[in-house]
């Protein structure tokens, strides 16, 4: 049976199912228990599974992530919540020097089946509360990096993340977390039972022949809308939702660009040294011929406070439409 669910409901449902399935699954973080998460994405878990398995912590992210390491070494599968991805700077050490590397440093002896669950993306609130940062995690070896665009995927990807023996950074877009179920144009029909969406497999959300638009997370929906608009102008846009930055499903992207010859990467993260250049370069390494390339991302500036400034730098339907037109040479 499929129901109309929003993203936070899906995340919490996935966690319920994982905690039920596997007693080793724990949820640890600020406000995840009594409150059920500041976005409600862990609602009901503490009531059902107790305050041992669903632990509200002090504001101590180094302790949260570090204890995740110890718990993983004890055979648990901790889901660690860092409320906003912006706060990762206080505890990145445990994430990239321990969680990401312990499997390797131990010569495969230990595993770190840890989910770093966090909220990213811009919904206002300025430079320290609006970042995506998946490009940062992706640069650091040993981490899988997932960012779903819709409730269906969120539930299935979270199930995959929790059952993965690898560390997964799971970035939920705040805008999507706050979006009502009925406002999702795709992926809000969600089965009640457990299912998985594999990590590393992109989703062709919309087929097209003139241009490949690669994106993920919060910019998938506006990209689809922009693609619909573009069609009215005779431009057929294929929209690919990457679902994860690591692994990066270049097979799907390459197949599309082979067809269209044109690539536009729409990325709500910072432009440089991130996702967009990696996608483009891997296409080149695969010797895919590209006739037009464009990147639309936050232009290497912090996210400003005022809406009038924010709209200028964060990709949205308007700027995506403009970028589509530019990429196909109809700007």
């Amino acid at each position: 049976m499929a129901r109309n669910l929003n993203l936070s409901q899906c995340i919490s449902e996935a966690l319920h199912l994982e905690m039920e399935r596997d007693p080793q699954v724990l949820v640890i973080g600020e406000d995840v228990g009594g409150q059920g998460g500041v976005f409600g994405a862990t609602r009901g878990l503490q009531k059902k599974y107790g305050s041992g398995r669903v632990l509200d912590t002090p504001i101590s992210e180094s302790a949260i992530t570090g204890m995740g390491v110890g718990l993983a070494l004890e055979g648990y599968r901790p889901v660690l919540e860092i409320m906003f991805v912006d706060f990762i700077g206080v505890c990145l050490d445990q994430v990239y020097n321990a969680i990401a590397k312990n499997h390797y440093m131990s010569g495969g002896k230990v595993r770190m089946p840890i989910v770093i669950k966090t909220a990213g993306g811009c919904i206002g609130s300025g430079a320290q509360h609006s970042q995506c940062l998946w490009g940062l995690f992706a640069h650091l070896p040993g981490l899988k990096v997932v960012a779903p665009s819709n409730p269906y995927d969120a539930k299935g990807l979270m199930a995959s993340a929790v059952e993965s023996d690898d560390p997964v950074v799971f970035i939920e877009h705040k805008g999507l977390l706050l979006k009502r179920a009925e406002d999702f144009t795709f992926g809000s029909d969600v089965p009640a039972e457990r299912y998985t969406v594999p990590i590393g497999k992109a989703n062709v959300v919309r087929e097209g022949s003139d241009l490949t638009l690669v994106t993920l997370s919060g910019t998938v929906a506006p990209s689809v809308t922009a693609a619909e608009e573009a069609l009215k102008k005779g431009i057929s846009v294929e929209v690919i939702d990457l679902r994860s930055v690591v692994p990066l499903d270049m097979d799907t992207v390459a197949a599309s660009v082979k067809k269209t010859g044109k690539i536009l990467v729409v990325d709500e993260d910072y432009l440089s040294f991130g996702l967009s250049a990696e996608v483009v370069t891997r296409l080149l390494e695969r010797k895919i011929s590209i006739t037009s390339v464009k990147r639309l991302a936050v232009p290497d500036v912090p996210i400003p406070g005022a809406l009038s400034l924010e709209q200028e730098v964060v990709p949205n339907e308007r700027s995506i439409s403009a970028a589509i037109a530019e990429t196909v040479g109809k700007a």
């Binding site: 406000d31 009594g34 206080v90 609130s125 320290q128 500036v301 406070g305 005022a306 730098v313």
Partner: protein, 318 residues
Amino acid sequence: MAQEITLKDRYGYMLWMRHFELACLEGVPTREIHGELHTGVGQEAISAGMVGFLSKEDAMCSTHRNHMHAIAKGVDLRAMLAEIFEKSTGICGGFGGHMHIFDPSLKFSATGIVGAGVPVALGHAYAARLKGNQAVAVAVVGDGAVNTGAFHEAMNMAGALSLPLVVVVENNEWAISVPFSASSATETIAERAPSWRAHGIRVNGLDVEEVANAFEAALARARSGKGPSIIEAMCYRFRGHFEGDADMYRSKEEKERRRSEDPLERTKETLVARGLATLEELNEIEKSVVASISEMLASVRKDPSPSGADATRYVFAE
């Protein structure tokens, strides 16, 4: 300086603080403020207790809940209101937003990262040492910030170097939904002070005079080279953590009971009881504050939004 500030003055500041926050609230349903908004309603006595002791040379580092601290430091209200309302006339031109109030002329800054202001205050305190002046650095934080690594690192260095750092902890007993009692190893924050060679005191943060006295003493200690202090001021946040917070983690009973202990009412009663003012006089003051702020808000609302063309400025100085 402090001598000039009377209890009635402090009550006046509390009124400005309260009504400033209420003015901010108006921007939420209208989406004039499109991001999070954290107000300090109910915690006015702490900020009002800090008024009058600090000069321009003294620094203050604040938090996500910073408006009232900024008022205490003397930051221009209109420029701050304009920043919060996302105007180009804002104190940061609209680039910062409500969590990022910067006034370098007053050495006031704020951060949205819990605990991160304390090391910044440490830097100010070290500057005072280098300059050999009498300046003090004040960090204001919430109870939740005490459990961050940054707090410990900064306090330890301040203690080791005996720096003029005063940390005012607004202990409103909650860090979003997590109660202080569940997140602190100790029953009070003040008792932790010796582990950083600091002086620690817990005060009633609803009592503006108690705060003022503790603050004055801590500043004197700092200025005389005796090192850091922690003032733990007990209080209660009257509203949700941010506007829009359903605030289900605090019982209705608790909220009602604690909100009934309003620091403004308390101060008003004291003033009247001591014969320092009449009720009418105080109500008149409130009326005039309300009028001024409402005028200020109306004027701010007419200001322009920052121009999108500027959005890529200020990444680098050069």
